[in-house]
């Protein structure tokens, strides 16, 4: 229980630390804090030689629930609802259709360039021997 708690605290410190460092780096490298932070963490893993155990244990849990953290930004849609209603047709075309068209295009290009992975059980929580 204590160990788990400490793992979470440790992970949060690492993630927030990397993010804040990324923010500082943004002054010099014109990329968002998130991306800088991600590269910084990658660098740490590369230098350390592997991913520390506590991070491997906790990060996948956080990533799985990332959706929740988008909710505050999504609530912004509510504030713009009038504008969305007024321009619904343009938005449907500009957002829905172009997004699906882009997805189809990228999927096609990806499949042409990259060999499909062998069909194995891709459930990350599955512990059974492959």
């Amino acid at each position: 229980m204590i160990k788990r708690f400490l793992q979470h605290i440790g992970t949060l410190i690492v993630l927030i630390g990397a993010y804040e460092l990324g923010d500082v780096a943004s002054a010099v490298i014109p990329l968002p804090a998130t991306i800088n932070g991600l590269f910084i963490l990658l660098l740490v893993f590369a230098v350390y030689g592997k991913v520390p155990a506590f991070l491997s244990a906790v990060i996948p849990l956080y990533l799985g629930h990332m959706s929740m953290f988008f909710v505050p930004a999504i609530m912004a849609v509510w504030l713009f609802q009038q504008a969305v209603y007024d321009h619904w047709l343009a938005l449907v075309l500009a957002l829905v259709l172009t997004t699906i068209a882009s997805m189809a295009l990228v999927m096609w290009v990806s499949s042409k360039l990259l060999k499909p992975s062998p069909k194995t059980n891709s459930d990350p929580t599955d512990q059974s021997p492959q």
Partner: protein
């Protein structure tokens, strides 16, 4: 309150057997907005109270370094072949949306704002402002695009007769940015890694193009 709504949304999603419309984001947001209206609170104020959660999205996105690192041997082996689809999507997505709005004679500010629909949300808002668009609206376009990406994936798989982890990851990361990546992570570590990579490359590419355009 947010955590309760989210917890409920997860259970609801399982109950409806992961039906497309029952994505936790939609359910949670709907619940939260409904509750806000019921207690007659101000949505803007609620959003201010949720600021710590909004902040944590940044550090959490940094955590995507984990799947990328684990998949590094695969990514390194594929090299430029991974970058090409990301570049294609990274150009086609914003330009096609811009063209539609341009042809429909939408307000110029909207045309500029929609260019940021496929890059990671916080960056999209800053970029929209730099280009002369509207930050709040950028978030709206951005989120809607992300949701469409996640919801439309099975249909696109069927349409293209392709259902591969790598391709799915690249599509989700390039077009549906962070929201797509969080879905890709749930599909498999490989698709999560490819989506994270696509997210980064798209972000880096956009930053470079912008520095050239605006610099």
């Amino acid at each position: 309150m947010l955590v309760l709504c989210y917890g409920f949304a997860i259970r609801f999603a399982k109950w409806t057997n992961q039906h497309i419309l029952a994505h936790p984001i939609l359910i949670t947001t709907t619940l939260l907005l409904t509750l806000t209206q019921l207690i007659e609170a101000d949505v803007g104020q609620v959003m201010t109270h949720l600021h710590p959660i909004k902040y944590l999205l940044g550090p959490l996105t940094v955590g995507l370094a984990l799947p990328v690192y684990n998949q590094f041997p695969v990514l390194r082996e594929l090299g430029i072949k991974v970058i090409i689809p990301i570049a294609v999507g990274g150009l086609f997505a914003p330009l096609s949306a811009f063209s539609v709005l341009y042809l429909l004679d939408a307000e110029p500010a909207w045309q500029l704002t929609i260019l940021t629909k496929s890059i990671t949300t916080p960056f999209a808002m800053d970029t929209a402002t730099m280009l002369g668009g509207i930050a709040g609206l950028a978030a709206v376009f951005n989120i809607i695009t992300g949701m469409i990406g996640v919801m439309a994936l099975p249909s696109v798989n069927k349409l293209m007769q392709i259902n591969d982890d790598k391709a799915n990851g690249i599509v989700l990361g390039t077009i549906a940015h962070g929201i797509g990546t969080s879905k890709a992570v749930l599909l498999s570590e490989q698709s999560g890694a490819f989506a994270s990579l696509a997210l980064c490359v798209n972000g880096v590419g956009t930053a470079i193009v912008l520095s050239v355009l605006l610099g």
